[in-house]
């Protein structure tokens, strides 16, 4: 995971770097981090290589929230964590889709909670490739491209943004491949990618541009998984 720390105060930045080191050690996750003294520096030098950005809100030249807004305008999708003196300032963090924030002086536990969240979100965003074997050849599909999976007896149809792909296989096959990800059954034949759920009304769910039926018995579990995903409790 690549992390950027944007913090004008040296000692504060030092603390964060130490915490990241400790987190990396304790959770056995490789983290590289780079420090920027200022929001302006970061944005002018911007490249979308960072998974997580830790941003101080109170900075001399550019306020952290403003910097975050500009970042999002550049289509940046990294997980954002704010560091602030006053909790009040971070309330509007939703405007820039922040994962969370920590109040100075930052304590390790509070910080580690946010990092865990940020990592889970970054990983969820990534998606993964699953191997499939069609009639003609072996292929890989990127899970983020799948809108939903349809199962009819022994046929599996992957409905993706680039068209439908048909393979032979069983339900247990898919469930093994798509384990630990955002796919949930909405009824007996469809496995929906929660990522692309736009709307749920009555007995139907809108996935990307298509409308599918949710069976009464599956609806409650479906909504629960959706609630968890939207709330940031990604499956990792």
């Amino acid at each position: 995971m690549h992390i950027a720390i944007i913090e004008d105060d040296d000692s504060d930045a030092e603390v964060l770097a130490r915490y990241l080191e400790r987190y990396s050690r304790e959770e056995r996750i490789e983290l590289t981090c780079r420090r920027f003294k200022d929001g302006m520096d970061f944005i002018s030098d911007y490249s979308p290589v960072y998974d997580i950005i830790i941003m101080d809100i109170e900075m001399p030249h550019m306020n952290g929230l403003e910097a975050a807004r500009r970042l999002r305008a550049l289509n940046d999708r990294s997980s954002l964590i704010f560091i602030t003196n006053m909790a009040q300032y971070a309330v509007v963090g939703y405007e820039v889709d922040a994962v969370g924030f920590a109040v100075k002086p930052v304590e390790y536990f509070a910080f580690s909670l946010q990092i865990s969240r940020a990592i889970a979100k970054a990983r969820a965003l990534e998606g993964k490739y699953i191997p499939i074997i069609t009639k003609s050849r072996a292929e890989k599909i990127y899970t983020n491209d799948i809108k939903y999976v349809e199962v009819i007896k022994h046929k599996i149809i992957y409905h993706t943004f680039n068209g439908n792909i048909e393979v032979l296989g069983s339900l247990s096959d898919i469930e093994a491949k798509l384990k630990d990800s955002d796919f949930v059954r909405c009824n007996n034949c469809y496995l929906v990618n929660l990522r692309h759920v736009k709307k749920v009304k009555g007995g139907s769910v809108t996935v990307a541009d298509e409308v599918l039926k949710i069976s009464y018995s599956k609806k409650q579990e479906f909504m629960r998984r959706l609630a968890i995903r939207l709330g940031g409790g990604f499956n990792t």
């Binding site: 009040q88 939703y94 969370g100 924030f101 920590a102 109040v103 759920v197 609630a227």
Partner: protein, 413 residues
């Protein structure tokens, strides 16, 4: 003809009572098709002759079709559908018994008058039941009652009704009168019982909510007073300390920190864009501060405009209070953090409240079971939250993962 009546009356009752419930797709098509088909079937069931003593079996047909009507047209678990079907049959049966009394008392009435009386009685009984049970408690809450309990009551009612029907022709008038009266009483009481179950639950919830609201109101008045007192006291203190700083010429570390501490008091009064939410957070913030708990909020309060003030106080008050009570028992102060997140995500509003939790929790129906000893009165916090979420067609669920207890909610915008 009578069997056709049974089905039609059942269908009318079901349609009226289930008006607000979730219907299956192509509802009107289903309605019309099943109504027509089942009506015809019921009529022909009545035409089957030569059964002698077993003639009453024919009446099972329209009754079963009346139940099937609910199963086919409405979205609900089959057991609930069967319960509703039996309920509507018992209402219809009550009207029929009244009719039976009248027919027995005046056996020589022309058939037209008979028919009119039949419909008048039906309308009358329906009105009575409607005003007693159809309106005051939404039928939806009946769905929450454990279905097997309801089914048992319904089946008992059915048996009672059928006892009269089976022996109708053979009994002397006086026996019919007695059996009829007791069947009517049985029907009525069973309805009262079924709705009594839900009323009890609903009342208990309301009571808990009202108590919480009263507590909230009291607290709000107290906060204003407390805040003002606090501000007055602290600003006096602040002025004094600034004087010292100026006089000394130097800036001792402790004084600067203490001033930061004083400033920090105002920190918790956030502006989320929703006044009611702001009040809940302010009240809980002070409570948290006393216990050394951090309440960290990222909240797009404007998105909660659809919720009433009382529901916001109750929902978020409960959730945060549960977290506070738990965290107060945790020795390690660095772990005393509550995170609250409210944001829009596409067409949904998502809410998450979490706190560190090292206990094991038992879950029942997706919600944690209270670990307080007085199980009857506590645990209502969670049920109340679930009730409010459902009220707005939202979903609430909880998760305990990696020592973090989270409450998730979503609502469609």
């Amino acid at each position: 003809m009578r069997y056709l009546n049974i089905f039609i009356e059942m269908a009318v009752i079901e349609f009226l009572f289930l008006l607000k419930l979730e219907k299956k797709s192509k509802f009107w098509v289903r309605l019309v098709v099943t109504a027509v088909v089942f009506s015809v079937a019921s009529y022909f069931a009545g035409c089957i002759g030569g059964l002698g003593k077993w003639a009453w079996v024919r009446s099972l047909v329209p009754m079963a079709l009346g139940i099937a009507f609910v199963v086919l047209c409405y979205r609900m678990p089959v057991i609930k559908a069967v319960c509703f079907g039996i309920i509507s049959y018992s209402i219809q049966n009550t009207a029929y018994i009244f009719h039976l009394f009248i027919m027995t008392a005046f056996p020589f009435m022309p058939s037209l008058v008979n028919v009119i009386i039949d419909y008048v009685l039906f309308a009358g009984v329906l009105c009575v039941y409607w005003f007693m049970f159809g309106r005051s408690i939404r039928m939806e809450t009946l769905m929450d009652v454990k279905s097997l309990k309801s089914l048992l009551v319904c089946v008992l009612v059915l048996i009672a009704s059928y006892a009269l029907i089976i022996f109708e022709r053979e009994l002397p008038e006086i026996a019919i009168a007695i059996a009829g009266v007791s069947t009517i009483i049985c029907n009525f009481l069973s309805m009262a019982l079924l709705f009594g179950f839900t009323r009890e639950d609903a009342l208990a919830r309301e009571k808990a909510e009202i108590e919480r609201l009263l507590q909230m109101e009291e607290t709000i008045h107290r906060i204003s007073k407390e805040s003002i007192d606090l501000i007055n006291f602290k600003s006096h203190d602040l002025k004094h300390r600034l004087d010292l700083l100026c006089a000394g010429g130097k800036f001792p570390e402790e004084d600067v920190n203490e001033i930061r501490e004083l400033v920090g008091v105002y920190d918790g009064f956030v502006k989320t864009g929703n006044d009611d939410l702001d009040i809940v957070i302010a009240e809980k913030y002070l409570r948290c501060r006393k216990s050394g708990i951090i309440l960290a909020c990222i909240a797009d309060g404007k998105r909660l405009g659809f919720m009433s003030a009382g529901d916001i106080y109750s929902l978020f008050g409960n959730a945060i209070e549960n977290a506070i009570e738990y965290l107060e028992s945790i020795g390690d102060r660095s772990k005393r953090i509550i995170n609250l997140k409210i944001q829009a995500s596409g067409e949904f509003v998502s809410v998450k409240i979490d706190n560190y939790c090292e206990s094991h929790l038992k879950f029942e129906d997706g919600l944690p079971v209270t670990n307080k000893t007085d199980g009857r009165f506590h645990g209502f916090g969670m049920k109340s939250m679930n009730y409010i979420a459902k009220k707005y067609n939202g979903t609430l669920c909880c998760e305990l993962k990696d020592k973090l207890f989270s409450v998730y909610m979503i609502f469609s915008m």
